[in-house]
């Protein structure tokens, strides 16, 4: 009885963030696709590679914005983030702060790269400098974050990276293999960058879900 009630409460708890995420994702994707149409460079059309890169970048940015809202307002954040309560956000404010800012920087780097010429209007040198700067910021924040994680979070991080590697090996490797055999077009450099980001996100979700940590609720 209690278990059934708790399950119902968890389903209700997950419904709001899922719906909010879906709406925000839809609106952001719609705006992005309009932006890429308007920004199509002289040499080429919008291209599916940059559209997917932009959408993955937006996913990172939206996730990071949601997390930052939770840090600024823990009571509100506890309603849609995967935490026990507002106190958990307060207790781990610094760790979450570094993590979400790094996530935002990575998402912004990928989003920016989707607008680099020839498909977009940002110059190659400027795009590379900005993206490398953002990746460097993410690396520094990740290093700072590592000082505030405990053994479970460290394990999840390692397992997520391992999962991301296997996914990249299967998806990117499989694609490259088929391309080498002349069966399909080779992945573009932007496709590889998108695959790095997407498989890392998928790895994190996979590992958290596998351990039942995506459906946490009040104990």
């Amino acid at each position: 009885m209690n278990a059934a009630r708790q399950e119902k409460s968890l389903a209700r708890r997950l419904a709001l963030p899922a719906l909010g995420g879906a709406i925000a994702g839809f609106v952001a994707t719609f705006l992005f696709l309009n932006l890429t149409d308007a920004d199509a460079g002289a040499g080429a059309g919008p291209g599916i590679s940059r559209e997917i890169a932009g959408i993955v970048g937006i996913s990172y940015i939206l996730g990071a914005i949601g997390g930052c809202i939770g840090i600024v307002n823990p009571r509100l954040g506890a309603r849609f983030l995967n935490v026990e309560d507002a106190d958990e956000l307060r207790e781990q404010r610094r760790m979450f702060g570094y993590a979400f800012t790094a996530m935002m920087a990575l998402g912004a780097a990928l989003f920016l790269l989707a607008f680099v010429e020839p498909a977009g209007s940002i110059g190659g040198r400027a795009g590379a400098a900005a993206a490398l700067g953002l990746v460097l910021v993410a690396c520094i924040l990740g290093h700072l974050q590592a000082r505030h994680v405990d053994e479970l979070q460290r394990l999840l991080s390692r397992e997520s990276i391992a999962t991301a590697f296997y996914l990249l090996f299967a998806i990117g490797g499989g694609w490259a293999l088929l391309a080498h055999c002349g069966l399909t077009a080779a992945p573009a450099p932007l496709d590889w960058l998108t695959m790095f980001a997407a498989t890392l996100l998928a790895g994190c979700l996979w590992q958290a879900g596998r351990r039942g940590l995506l459906t946490r609720g009040p104990s």
Binding site: V83, E84, D150, E151, L152, Q153, L155, R211, L213, R216
Partner: protein, 68 residues
């Protein structure tokens, strides 16, 4: 692995947050151990046992028996 962490914690009248603070880990870790989603490292298991004044096998239940 099944464990009696929640039982011992409640006997002390501590919240998950209080136990996490005493052990120097996150509340997420305490919750994951109590709900059998995560088996702690040996150092953390030893610290938990020391904190409650019990032996590790009294805290973590392993049904494995060596073959005769």
């Amino acid at each position: 692995m099944r464990n009696r962490l929640k039982e011992h914690r409640e006997a002390q009248g501590w919240s998950q947050g209080e136990l996490a603070r005493r052990l120097g880990v996150s509340r997420q870790t305490i919750n994951a151990v109590e709900t059998d989603k995560y088996d702690p490292s040996l150092p953390l298991a030893l610290r938990m046992a020391k904190l409650f004044g019990v032996a590790v096998p009294d805290l973590f239940i392993d049904d494995w028996e060596p073959e005769q």
